[in-house]
Subunit: 219 residues, 2 copies
């Protein structure tokens, strides 16, 4: 599929702009683990994901992490071009969680396009509103949900994402997704194990009772 099929505003652009955009966009493929954006340190551009998985997260001064949201096939990563919008005064990190193929539209090019085209500008508005919605959901989770509920939800979602009931991950990594300490994750997983919901082995967690985890997660 071509870039034009991923961008709803493409057809609204005049032919000259369409052609300039197609030329400006760079197709790239990065391996799992590639750091694509690191706060205000860089400003790559808008990423249009063809195939793969990106993770947007933030870190504390002490190096703790929390996952803000994830992006999948056909999603568009706006904050890798955050320098375009001077009012964005926060730093997030974006990393490829799986091998990812994408088009990169350089930030300065997109910014000029957004200043000329009301279709592009309004589309950018909708993109930001979508990410805002995800972060607001996270705020609610952190504030009002208990940790057993958040952990259960994370396990169920990972299982669906990876299409397996055997999750190859560490307690450390789960803690980094959920914004907590490793010990907190280990304690809760051991409780889940004592309840027969999971089985813990070195480097893996097997989900034994998905139904009960879903009920706990209130999915």
């Amino acid at each position: 599929m071509e870039l034009c099929h991923y961008l709803p505003f493409f057809q609204a652009l005049p032919p000259a702009e369409q052609s300039a955009l197609s030329h400006a966009a760079v197709r790239r493929r990065v391996p799992q683990g590639t750091l694509l954006h690191n706060g205000s340190a860089d400003c790559l551009g808008l990423l249009v994901i063809e195939l793969g998985q990106l993770r947007a997260y933030m870190t504390s001064d002490e190096g703790r992490e929390i996952t803000l949201y994830r992006l999948f096939d056909r999603d568009i990563c706006l904050f890798s071009a955050s320098c375009m919008l001077s009012s964005i005064q926060f730093d997030i990190i974006i990393c490829a969680e799986k091998e990812t193929a994408f088009w990169m539209i350089p930030a300065d090019f997109y910014k000029r396009l957004m200043e000329r085209s009301v279709a592009v500008s309004n589309y950018t508005n909708q993109l930001m509103a979508s990410r805002f919605t995800e972060v607001m959901w996270l705020v609610e989770q952190i504030l009002w949900k208990s940790f057993d509920q958040r952990l259960a939800r994370f396990l169920v979602e990972e299982s669906a994402l990876e299409q397996t009931s055997l999750l190859i991950t560490t307690h450390e990594k789960i803690a980094a997704h959920l914004g907590t300490a490793r010990e907190v994750v280990t304690r809760m997983l051991k409780y889940f194990q004592s309840e027969g919901m999971v089985r813990l082995t070195r480097g893996a967690i097997e989900l034994l009772d998905l139904k009960r985890l879903e009920i706990l997660a209130q999915i």
Copy 2:
């Protein structure tokens, strides 16, 4: 001051649009405590604050609250027109914390304007990015800061806002700002009192040692 002085994009509009906007905007004044926006239940429009103070907050199913941000003179309230942007899928409540005078630009009018004018659309982008920045700051606070630090910061900021060291408020209200339970606030305030930083009386908190509170708040 006229509405045109509050809206940076005003001069970029053609004269006919300027005139239509001036006619569409309604000047209002509401008393302290007025509920201006309640999630998806209403969609008043963009509020351009002349004078006053608005509080944007959200609530849990159990009725707990947390303040997301506040708006002051010359600020613009975007989420009271959230129906304009279909990607905004979260509910916030906006309430007048003090008597507030504002212009209200109806949501459908602003939406049409935003679809025609790239200046308006890009300005809306910047507005949303500013609110997003405030919410991201809140996420960091909740996740990485201890409660004594957050409470100290709240007291110092309230004191600056009200220009007094005697805060007329209840533990219940502070809990609603900080997204916690009243008991948690009471316990920490009693600790602050035992340390000589505040004096607690019925319905009021006197800040005795602003310097230490600022150090604690890391301001």
